[in-house]
């Protein structure tokens, strides 16, 4: 498989795990395990699968109205070796609002990426997705999909991300989430 780092012209380094504080008095959920078919799908070139975990916090649960939430820890590794974490230079790098339906929007998601010799911050605007609620309004899963223009021959990188509590019920929810988000599931994963 072609490495993500090759899209960015550099070899691979290690995973970085960085955390940030959630909303005060918030309820924390996770770490939620990144699950298939999470992947980075380029316009040109092979897909990279994603693994790792995401921790988040919600200001209050159950979510009955628009509520503050944030990702408090992102530790994601692409199969090509690139790692994704929250940008440590921003105090609240993944602050957003979740609706009662579970739909959420993070106006700007600040990531830090280590990809071989490249070590850089990347802000991703308008990251939308869905939280999946379990008993008592607890968060059992998260799904999101967004695109990044690599400014390279790889073209647009579509990032599909799903993470959840590793239970059969959650898997069903995530499957529904995939459908709801209309993700571009890579062929080699969907088979």
């Amino acid at each position: 498989m072609r490495k993500l780092s090759r899209w960015l012209s550099g070899p691979v380094l290690a995973v970085v795990c960085l955390a940030s504080a959630g909303p005060a008095g918030a309820v924390s959920f996770g770490p939620l395990a990144v699950a298939a078919p999470s992947a980075i799908v380029p316009d040109m070139g092979p897909t990279e699968t994603l693994s790792g975990s995401i921790t988040l916090s919600v200001a209050s649960v159950p979510v009955l109205s628009p509520t503050l939430f944030s990702l408090t820890n992102v530790s994601v590794l692409a199969s090509g070796g690139a790692s994704f974490a929250l940008d440590p230079s921003v105090l609240s790098p993944a602050l957003g609002v979740v609706q009662a339906t579970g739909n959420f929007l993070i106006p700007t998601l600040f990531l830090h990426i280590v990809d071989g010799a490249l070590n850089f911050d990347l802000a991703v605007p308008n990251v939308a997705g869905m939280l999946f609620f379990g008993a008592g309004g607890s968060v059992v899963g998260i799904a999101s999909s967004f695109e990044i223009d690599s400014l390279s021959p790889a073209g647009i990188l579509t990032v599909n991300l799903l993470a959840g509590v590793p239970e059969p019920g959650t898997a069903l929810l995530l499957a529904l989430g995939i459908a709801a988000l209309g993700m571009r599931v890579p062929k080699e994963i969907s088979r």
């Binding site: 602050l95 700007t108 911050d121 990347l122 802000a123 605007p125 400014l151 579509t158």
Partner: protein, 603 residues
């Protein structure tokens, strides 16, 4: 579902100075942070040339026409737009509008704006505004010089280009007393085609060329900026964020914008703060209360009429401590170009009549190279005025005479001549002298001085902490010759000073105006106590807003909840460093604050 799409963003490349440039070099991951000088329709002030209001519109004099054309429309607002080129990408979620300070141009915000846009990967734009007189700066000499340099094939041609620009703005005296290019001759002034098609040298405006500026006070400025704020809102949408801020005296302008009532009907309020989602105060505490000398409505009208009359009081600042901004401005542009293109050569500007005369000759007596001259002018250790200081390094290759604080001056060093040219040590050079082992008032002095412990937040503001060197001289050089440049050549003082007497509250004037005319009148600062949007203040411990108390008067005068009033003091930063520092230490707080305002808008 619509997915967001964004660019990978890697360390900032050398950027084209202006305009939507061609694709940047650097390959995959290169950034597309660009800058564009925008000149847009502003508020239609009826006395201003181009308003079309019969019987009220004032004429443009020939020198004004020589700069902007025979039939000018001066009701325009200009700004330096910093943004990310991103075809097909969504609109930015936030736009930050910034107003520069005393004698400052929009270019002063350039380094901070680039860092902010880069950090947000384009999800924010920064619009740094210039006040109206920026369009009256005769930049032909600087543009001409830049064009010649762009086509130069060797240093001799670059040098000739710089002399050509110099002789446009600062010609050699006919007496031959000054021989700038050291050719033994008196060179004629450089002539260039002006907007009327005449061959002219520098068209420096006189007070009577700008009598229409009697009507360019707070009202006209804030109405210009309301146009921008409304334009910004149309871009970011109702769930987006429009922020308004300023630096130094620009914080006064930001606070009066928020406090202004734009609707002339006494029964209707259209407050400035309702058009924005937050206020940013950089190295300034905003406006204060009215002075006891604030004139009555009748007196106000009389003084405006005087300002508009030929031979009346000054409408712009002709001189500041002996320095003429209309000379300093173009001189800075050429000095910036010289510092970039011939950094190690003898400073050309220092060999002109102006710099051979007081006050420049007193402060900048030591022959320096082109780069060091700008360093001496702006560095916090050599610039006598705190308001003009950035921390760009030091010069230790000669004697530095310590001058203690006094009068309008802070403590500073006066560089003395050495056997060669004085040279500059950059901000990140490990050889910068610190104290100890050096002593602050003994040659060479200190670039890095400890100004003592931090006072209590409520104490009277004073400098404290360990000074830092954080601003690249290269960045300062680059700013000088932007169209939205570093210096405001015609800094409005007449009407602005008159309006300034009312501080943040002109309610008494408004009441008199309503009684006399039924309208709220020419200056409607009535909404400050109702301002309820979040405010972020950022100061530098080595600047003009070194403590939380620097912002206390303004923050105490508005209705914003305490939780939405935030102040950051950056230790060691001088007045300009909050705008110009590389790896700006204020950026994380600013980014986080803006981010939170974005999230608030989603509720």
């Amino acid at each position: 579902m619509t997915r967001s799409r964004w660019f990978l963003l890697l360390p900032l490349l050398a950027l084209p100075s202006l305009g939507p440039a061609a694709c940047p070099s650097g390959g995959p991951g290169a950034t597309f942070v660009l800058q564009q000088y925008v000149l847009a329709p502003g508020y239609v002030e009826p006395h201003t040339p181009g308003s079309g209001v019969a019987g009220v519109e004032m004429e443009a004099t020939e020198p004004v026409q020589g700069i902007v054309g025979a039939d000018p429309d001066l009701n325009r607002v200009s700004y330096l737009r910093t943004y990310l080129a991103r075809a097909g990408a969504p609109a930015p979620r936030a736009i930050l509008i910034l107003v520069p300070g005393f004698l400052g141009g929009a270019g002063t915000f350039s380094p901070l704006a680039k860092q902010l846009v880069q950090k947000y990967n384009g999800n924010i734009e920064v619009w740094a505004v210039d006040r109206r007189p920026n369009q009256l700066e005769d930049r032909r000499g600087s543009v001409h010089t830049s064009a010649l340099i762009a086509n130069a094939t060797n240093d001799d041609e670059v040098r000739d280009a710089l002399y050509s620009g110099t002789f446009f703005y600062l010609p050699e005296p006919e007496s031959g007393a000054i021989d700038t290019n050291e050719n033994g001759e008196v060179d004629p002034p450089t002539l260039l085609p002006d907007a009327l098609g005449n061959e002219t040298s520098y068209l420096r405006l006189a007070q009577d060329d700008m009598r229409f500026a009697a009507h360019w006070g707070v009202d006209t400025n804030v109405r210009d900026w309301k146009v921008l704020a409304d334009n910004a809102r149309s871009i970011v949408g109702p769930q987006g964020v429009v922020l308004f801020g300023g630096h130094s005296q620009g914080t006064y302008w930001a606070s009066v914008f928020a406090a202004y009532d734009f609707d002339p009907d006494p029964d209707v309020v259209d407050a400035g703060y309702s058009h924005v989602d937050g206020i940013v105060l950089l190295e300034g505490g905003g406006a204060g209360g009215p002075s006891a000398s604030a004139p009555s409505f009748a007196s106000y009208q009389s003084r405006v009429a005087s300002l508009a009359q030929p031979g009346g009081p000054d409408v712009f600042l002709g001189s500041f401590q002996g320095i003429e901004p209309a000379i300093l401005g173009p001189g800075a542009e050429l000095a910036g170009l010289a510092g970039i293109h011939l950094p190690d050569e003898s400073a050309i500007i220092q060999r002109t009549t102006v710099f051979q005369s007081p006050p420049f000759s007193l402060f900048f007596a030591a022959p320096a190279d082109n780069r060091a001259l700008i360093g001496f002018f702006i560095d916090d250790d050599f610039q006598p005025f705190t308001a003009f200081r950035a921390s760009v390094g030091f010069s230790a290759d000669g004697r530095n005479l310590y001058s203690p604080p006094g009068g309008a001056f802070a403590a500073f060093y006066v560089a003395q001549p050495n056997a060669d040219l004085r040279r500059w040590i950059d901000y990140d050079d490990p050889a910068l002298p610190s104290c100890p082992p050096n002593t602050f008032n003994v040659t060479p002095g200190c670039a890095l001085l400890n100004n003592g412990p931090r006072p209590l937040p409520t104490a009277t503001p004073s400098n404290w902490g360990n000074e830092r060197e954080v601003t690249s001289l290269d960045d300062i050089l680059e700013i000088q010759a932007l169209p939205s440049n570093f210096v405001e050549w015609y800094f409005l003082s007449g009407r602005s000073n008159l309006d300034g007497a009312y501080g943040i509250n002109s309610s008494a004037l408004v009441a008199q105006s309503v009684a006399a005319t039924g309208s709220e009148g020419p200056l409607v600062l009535t909404q400050n106590a109702n301002v309820n949007v979040p405010v972020l203040g950022i100061g530098g411990s080595n600047g003009l807003a070194p403590l939380e108390s620097s912002f206390a008067t303004y923050l105490g005068s508005i209705a914003t909840p305490a939780a939405d009033k935030e102040v950051l003091i950056v230790e060691g930063y001088a007045h300009l460093d909050v705008l110009t520092a590389r790896n700006n230490a204020a950026l994380p707080t600013l980014v986080d604050w803006i981010n939170r305002q974005m999230v608030k808008k989603l509720f």
